[in-house]
Symmetry: C2
Subunit: 240 residues, 2 copies
């Protein structure tokens, strides 16, 4: 399988600009062969403004951007895409729009069969996994399913947040929420990607990149910590 | 309409015990006529343990607890209930179980037609509203709909949390999430109930109780703040 994925936890890191913290990774990921990237702005309400932001940033890295929301036929746009980038925002809104436009299966085919490079950030990373069951977002719309594109056999929790020992807020911590997910049967493992980290998947190799550790939750096991540079390829086989 | 609802933001307030911060409100709400309360523990995985917690607490206030998960026929248990209490936990799990057991319509009928007192906390408050579109919970299971019991014509965001100006985390703030909800068409207003606050609904009168202000979000308007004791009855008519 010649899949190539760059799954980024967050689009913007505190104190930096849009995609600034991962711009070198993006350049390396798309390389010099890719000229045009198909952008999917469905996770935000103002798709024109969002496309401009993504277009300006990727242009500064040497890539032209076509947005799927500007295409007469979104499925055809995916069929012709050299590379795909799905941006962050609300994961429910994003997944619903992907289903509405019949893009879930099409993107999966292009990435897994044709080797089209796929980049996602935040919600765009969530929809690349098995399901959106471990998104942090508010369920503002009802998608026809929580099953996502399934480019990898595990789930990700982007913007992973450690428990604040000084907090007086009584809502569930992030770790408690993921533990609740694993109380359900047949749930895949969940990689908590802290802001600043990202996952590079090349074929059957998975590498943690960025500047922060990731926390891995496996059903019935203690969570484990993984430092940047770690080989996490076992996630592709031991996903449950 | 002789509905009576006590919708609590949170089951436990920092530094206190289970339902401690609202125990006087509970006693006043159920009063001396109610002898037995039907508890719904569906939002947590360990329903036996959860029932014991609720039973012990309500017993200390003078009420016997029957749990719907111990009933041979949950629908029949709702039909016979003198009072209903739905506890907090995961809102998706709770709503799915209510649909699985055909309780959504039955509870609505009992509360709105028969005047059976309904108490909810956290997830139990979410499911009393129009929909669970403004829950904070992780979508760990897929319910057949986000539409909820609909005992009031607006939504609630329990555990409402103010934006922390010192945070370096780049995930959306609670206010941003509710604003995203209101970018969608035909969305009802959302009352952000901070921890420590609760809503008393008696017929067509709505009163904010507890110790913290509530923040009201109406589509296309600036949010507004409301102090404990406020009459919020307009929510029943101007919900959109």
């Amino acid at each position: 399988m010649n899949r190539r994925l760059l799954l980024v936890s967050n689009s913007t890191l505190y104190g930096g600009g849009y995609l600034q913290h991962c711009q070198n990774n993006i350049s390396q990921f798309f390389g010099k062969q890719v000229k045009r990237v198909l952008f999917v702005p469905y996770a935000l309400h103002d798709q024109d403004a969002y496309t401009k932001t993504a277009r300006d940033k990727l242009k500064s890295l040497g890539y032209e951007v076509d947005s799927v929301h500007e295409a007469a036929d979104p499925v055809e746009a995916v069929r012709k895409a050299e590379a795909i980038f799905i941006g962050g925002g609300n994961t429910f809104r994003l997944l619903k729009a992907l289903y509405d436009d019949n893009l879930v299966t099409e993107i999966k085919k292009r990435v897994l069969q044709d080797g089209v490079p796929y980049m996602g950030s935040s919600a765009g990373t969530n929809v690349a996994t098995v399901s959106i069951n471990t998104t942090n977002d508010m369920p503002i719309v009802y998608p026809p399913s929580f099953s996502a594109i399934g480019l990898v056999p595990f789930n990700i929790n982007p913007h992973y947040l450690d428990t604040d020992p000084n907090s007086r807020h009584m809502g569930e911590t992030r770790e408690q929420r993921i533990t609740q997910y694993h109380e359900e049967l047949n749930t895949p493992c969940v990689l908590g990607l802290r802001e600043g980290s990202m996952l590079l998947v090349e074929g059957n190799t998975v590498t943690l990149l960025g500047t922060t550790n990731a926390r891995l939750f496996q059903r019935g096991k203690e969570p484990s910590e993984h430092v940047p540079g770690s080989d996490l390829s076992f996630l592709l086989t031991d996903a449950q």
